[in-house]
Amino acid sequence: MPESVYVVMPAHNEGRVIASVIYRVRESLPDAHVVVVNDGSSDNTATVATAAGARVVNLPFNCGYGVALQTGLTYAFRAGADIVITLDSDGQHDPKSIEPLIKPIRKGEMDLVLGSRYLPQSVSYRVPALRRIVSHCLSLLLSFIAGQRLTDTTTGFQCMNRKTLQLFVTLKDFPEKTPDADLILYAVMTGARVWEVPVTMHEDQGGESMHGVFKSMLYIPKLFTAILSVLLEYAHQKRGDR
């Protein structure tokens, strides 16, 4: 039986680049359904995405990356998706890398595959030093907690099967601010088979960057709190299972 593949792309004011990203996704995966979650954009993101052949889900107002991602994943889950790929709509994640990302899922070897920009074979833009250091420290911490080596825990370029999709969609407290590292950690802790593959990442060509100096400084404590929240949720779930 053929599987239905959904590509979920949260977008906020990406009207300038989103069409080219959708075209490149369709080149890589012609049978996939592309879902753009328009997170209250004030530009023509929704119109451009629809014209490029994507299904557009419009959030009533700007809710943030986490909510947009949760909406896209819920949409895919309710549509009966077997495989879901998440990628940024600002052109940072190269759709050509979808192929190595989806392969282990299709073979049934993995439940969640992450596109890493820090693996030796990865092709990446020059990540600013401070961000690189923070990202490495975070990866070390998460690897320690998860008991598995992870190099890029803030990647939004992921591929998951229906089991993992269900795990994320039914999560009681979906992380609204930092839904990358904590979701990965949650997946690993609940026994999902997680793997990293090298991917190509470009510098974002879109609008506002999420990682300004001030935002980065706020991001760190938020992320640590989010990790703590995942650990608490996991412990709570474990207690409930007993």
Binding site: P2, D31, R55, V57, L59, P60, T71, T74, R78, E176
Partner: protein, 145 residues
Amino acid sequence: MTIFQLGSGMTPIGHVALEARVLIFLCGLGLCIWSLLKLRRRSLLVATCSLFLTVGAAFIFFATFPGLFDRLAYFSGITYPPTLYLIGCVVILILMIIHLAFRLSLIDERCRRMAIELALLRNPPPDPSGVKAELEQSKAGGDHV
């Protein structure tokens, strides 16, 4: 005679002047009336209104019986009674911040869920069985070609 006893309107330390008592009484009364008016117009939550009413009632009570407040302060080990006012205000403010932060988190979470459901209602996902049939059809068509 100490510096606090100088002048006609001055009173010794630890005692509240009549003017101050009237002012505190009026503040308490104003707070109670404002809360009740807001409650009548349904523009203030019952829980928040009850807090304001309690604070207003406490103002009125201690303005009417200032001696009780002084005694309460001395029983609490506070030698300068107005300090008890300050501590009370700080504690109430902290409790209010905690309560409001909790309410805000709850409302934020509900708002988030509503936004998602609204978005999915406006743009409903396709029926999974239809998607599967379409896929099988396209696959069969592709294989045929």
